[in-house]
């Protein structure tokens, strides 16, 4: 009976600890946990299983099962990427291990001062766990911790996903290796071969994919350059046509009556308004004006205030690699789509594009006005969009890629997107 009560008590403590882990995860990632009603019974079952494992299994097995359990549960009950779940889990574990060691040191010190405490180990463990959890919650709320998490997150994003998964597998393998059980030791060779096979397969697939990608990119780039030349020619034709048309209209104006003169003035004003945007496109770095023309053209008649400010003297394709160029086009396309759509719905309807060549990067700044409501935490997440159309997949697919950095700042009613793309070395 006593044992049963003790097991229930331990399970309750484990349950609290698991709730704390989910709380810390939520604080670190700012990611809401879905389906909370289903999660609570799962945590209760999980707590009972963990208590059972702690009693009957070795700590290493227990640890491996716990890691897998949390990773799976977090993947099911949140919407973030598995790689990010691993990142936040590592941080949570580091924090808890630190607190565990700290609590143990204090307990051992107290035992030295009050030897009678050795008779109450069964009470000390749950009490220690509760103190540890409270300390974890307090530490989690500290701004410095959030700053640290955000900074390390940016570094973590640079590591390739496959490397992260392999490291995770190695950690699990190392933990298995820590067991001194003979049949596990015999498995070592098989596990090494298995892991090496995975690494080799991933590497070969990656090399093949990148080769295929380079070929596709070269074809796409040639097509883009052709399209670009076509657009520039179109633009020239349009300018000549506009110039001739206005000259003819002015000619007619000199012999027209007042009503016709008024109409001619309005027509000239309209042609000049369209000319403003299209002539700005001449200033865009060569290689990007095609994509901007395509996007902007559809909004020309919708009275948007678009201004393009280019400070790049050379051709974009001469300063960045084809792969970076492709990434830049992709990012610019997505951000520009969002910016134009959001600006169109706003009061001032402003879109401003700025291109700059920095020492190591090409920097594109897209600023637009917007209206409505924005969820700060959900920006850049899958299925979240600020423009009420589409599904927000575009921006989500770009964030976190190598060689491209994106920064979003919202300043009052302005949405500021900065795209930084690495230059050729």
């Amino acid at each position: 009976m006593n044992n049963l009560l003790l097991t229930i008590f331990y399970s309750f403590i484990v349950f609290l600890s698991q709730i704390v882990i989910f709380y810390i995860f939520n604080q670190f990632s700012k990611e809401p946990i879905k389906m909370k009603k289903i999660l609570i019974p799962i945590i209760i079952i999980g707590s009972l299983v963990e208590t059972f494992l702690t009693t009957y299994l070795s700590p290493v097995y227990n640890c491996i099962i716990c890691i897998s359990y949390f990773l799976i549960i977090l993947k099911i009950f949140t919407t973030i990427k598995f790689k990010d779940i691993i990142f936040y889990s590592i941080n949570i574990w580091l924090l808890l291990i630190f607190l565990d060691i700290f609590t143990m040191l204090i307990y051992n010190a107290l035992q030295l001062i009050f030897p009678v405490l050795s008779n109450y180990v069964f009470v000390a463990r749950p009490v220690g766990t509760i103190i540890m959890n409270v300390a974890a919650i307090i530490i989690t709320k500290q701004k410095i911790i959030h700053k640290f998490i955000n900074n390390t997150y940016n570094y973590f994003q640079k590591i390739d996903s496959s490397i992260v998964y392999i490291l995770l597998l190695f950690t699990l393998y190392y933990m298995l290796g820590a067991l001194s059980i003979s049949h596990i030791r015999n498995l070592k060779l098989l596990i090494i071969i298995f892991l090496l096979a995975i690494i080799l397969t991933i590497t070969i697939i990656k090399i093949l994919l990148s080769k295929y990608e380079i070929i596709t990119l070269k074809t796409t780039n040639q097509l883009l350059i052709k399209n670009n030349e076509f657009y520039l020619k179109l633009l020239d034709d349009y300018h000549i046509l506009k110039h001739n048309l206005i000259s003819q209209l002015l000619g007619i104006k000199s012999i027209a009556n007042n009503k016709a003169k008024k109409l001619i003035d309005e027509l000239i004003k309209e042609y000049n308004a369209n000319f403003q945007t299209t002539s700005d496109l001449r200033d865009v770095p060569s290689g990007l004006n095609g994509i901007i023309y395509e996007k902007v053209y559809n909004f020309n008649k919708k009275e948007l205030n678009i201004l393009i400010d280019n400070k790049i003297a050379s051709k974009v394709l001469e300063v960045i690699t084809p792969r970076s160029y492709n990434l830049l086009c992709e990012a610019l396309g997505v951000v520009l789509d969002n910016a134009l759509e959001a600006a169109y719905k706003s009061k001032d309807k402003v879109v401003y594009l700025n291109f700059r060549e920095m020492q190591e990067n090409i920097k594109v700044t897209i600023i637009n006005t917007f209206s409505g409501i924005i969820d700060l935490e959900k920006l850049g997440q899958k299925n979240y969009t600020t423009k009420n159309i589409g599904h927000g997949i575009g921006l989500y697919s770009i964030i976190g890629r190598r060689k491209i950095k994106m920064k979003t700042t919202i300043k009052n009613n302005l949405f500021i997107n900065e795209i930084l793309i690495e230059k050729k070395k």
Partner: protein
């Protein structure tokens, strides 16, 4: 004290600006410092970097050399969003609308069309307005948010997803925080009107405790006024 930084290469325009500044300084009985530049140079860069309580830039757009007034404004905004910028120019409306928003330009004044009276009117407005550039800054993983406190109308707690909604005139923002946490980032112009609402009293024109609402200067009624906070509100 206000420091005026004038970047203008035409002597006649510089004289008009000088005259207006002197007039404004006497009218408001305020000490002013004026720094003149003809183009972008090291001294101007020093003026931009210098930390002065209040600065007003009067910039010509078309300047000698490759750096225009817009480029100078961009350089100013890289470091300083608090100072006011006035452009002396002759550009089209679209150009103005974009830069008014993007660079927070106070005004665009046409050089040869009532320049003196317009500049005087603008500077008087700058003198009269509260120098209030305090900001609420919130940093999240994917985006940073910066809003002038004066632009915030009220903040409510959304019951559904337990997030806060910051209401401004044209846009609203949802953030993960609590009313208690956000209060620490605000100043004393913000008051608690309800257990799930903090409001900017500078924007409130009426408190109606019998019908539990307060009215904002933009005409909106917010049904989040509780008698519980009446004493605190009236003491403020």
């Amino acid at each position: 004290m206000i420091k005026f930084i004038v970047v203008e290469d035409e002597k006649s325009v510089q004289d008009i600006i000088k005259k207006v500044l002197r007039k404004i300084s006497i009218a408001n009985d305020t000490e002013i410092e004026i720094s003149y530049h003809q183009k972008y140079n090291k001294n101007l860069l020093k003026d931009i970097s210098e930390e002065v309580y209040r600065k007003v830039y009067i910039l010509d757009i078309e300047l000698e050399g490759s750096i225009s007034g817009i480029d100078i404004a961009q350089k100013i905004r890289e470091k300083d969003w608090d100072s006011e910028i006035i452009f002396v120019t002759s550009h089209d409306k679209m150009f103005e609308t974009v830069h008014r928003n993007v660079l927070e330009v106070f005004d665009f004044i046409e050089k040869f069309h009532n320049m003196e009276s317009r500049l005087e009117k603008d500077l008087q407005l700058i003198y009269n307005q509260k120098f209030d550039k305090k900001m609420l800054k919130i940093y999240s993983r994917n985006a940073d948010l910066e809003i002038y406190l004066k632009n915030i109308l009220y903040i409510t707690r959304d019951k559904e997803d337990r997030k806060l909604i910051i209401h401004t005139k044209d846009v609203n923002f949802k953030i993960s925080s609590s009313l208690n946490d956000i209060t620490e980032k605000l100043d004393n112009r913000f008051i608690r009107t309800h257990r799930s609402c903090i409001a900017n009293k500078d924007h409130i024109v009426e408190y109606n405790y019998s019908e539990n609402y307060f009215q904002l200067d933009i005409g909106i009624k917010v049904d989040l006024l509780s008698k519980k906070y009446r004493k605190e509100i009236e003491n403020e």
